[in-house]
Amino acid sequence: MDFLQNKFFLIALTFGFYLAAQLLQRRTGIKLLNPILIAIAGMISFLLLFDIDYDTYKQGGDYIDFWLKPAVVALGVPLYKQLSAIKRQLLPLLLSELAGCVAGIVSVVLLAEIFGATREVVISLAPKAVTTPIAMEISSAMGGIAPLTAAVVVATGIFGGMTGFRIVKMSHIHSPIAEGLSIGTAAHAVGTSAAMERSERYGAFSSIGLTLNGLFTALLAPMILDLLGYSV
C-alpha cells in the first residue's frame, strides 16, 4: 500500500482525473464535468478512501502548485497583446474594477454575516474573488483561515468559470470587453482560463480583471474589513 503514497503516483493520478474529466466533458458537453472540479473531488475521495493525509499529497502536489506563479507571470503576454485597447479606456477600466472590488468584498462579508458565519470564516471569505496567493495572504493577515480561503477561492473560480458567461448574459452585459473583465474580476485565473477558451480577447480582458482586482483587493480589503468591524 506504500506505493499509493508515492509522490509521482499522486501527481500522475491528478493528471489522470483531470484528463479523464476533460475527455468526458468534450464528449458529453456536460458543464459539471469541469476538469478542475473533478480532479479535486476525485483526489479528495481517493485520499480519504486510502487514508492518506493532505501533507503526504502535498509532497507531490507542490510540484504542480509550483507552476501557478510562473503561469500568472505568463498572463503578461495576453495582457501585452491587448495594451492598445486598454489604453483607449483606462478610466472605465479603473472605475469598473474599483466598483467590482468593493462590491465583492462588502457583499460577501455582509451575506456571510446574515447567514450566520463565525468571525474567522467571514474574514476567510472576504478576499475570495482574487487569485490564491493574494487571497491567502490577506486572509491570514486579517485573522482568517488560509486553507479555507484557498478552497473557497478555487471553488469561486470554478463557479465563475462555469456560469460566468450565463451571468453576463442575464445581466445584459454585451461588450466582449465588459464580459471578459467581469469574469476575471469575480473568478480570477480559473475564470480567465474559461474566458481564454472562448477567445484570446476575452481572456486578455479577463486577465486585466484579475490583475486590477488583485491589486485593489490587496490594497483595500484590510481597510474595508476594518470599516465593517473586522479589525485585526
Binding site: 483526489m43 479528495i44 503578461g76 450566520g116 458565519a117 479555507l148
Partner: protein, 124 residues
Amino acid sequence: MILQFGVLFAFLVAGELLVRFTGIPVPSSIIGMVLLCASLKLGIVKLEWVDRLSGFLVHNLGFFFVPAGIGLMNCLGLIADQWVPIVCATVISTVIIIAVTGWVHQLTRSASSKLAHKIAKEGE
C-alpha cells in the same frame, strides 16, 4: 524552449526581489506579470521569446489550482458546520461582482465615448 523558461522565471525573480526589498503587499507573480507586459511593450523582450511557453501555461492555468483545491480536505469539518453561509455568500457575491463590474464598465465607457465625441464635435 529553455530561453522561454529562462525569461519567464527571470520576471518571477524580479517580482520576488521587488517584494523582498520594498515590502509591498502584492504577490511577486502579479508584479512579474506587469513587468513582463511592460518589457514587451518597451521592446526589451521579444514576443517570440515567451510566446510558446506562456501560451501553454495560460491555456492550462486551471490545472495548477488543483492542489490548492485539494487542501479543502483539511477544513471539511469547518465546511460541514458552516456550509450554508459559505456557499450562499460565495455564490451570490460572485454574481454581484460580475454584474456590478460589467454594468459600471458599460456605463462609464458609453459616457466617456460620448464625451470624446462631443469634444471632437466642438473642435470642428
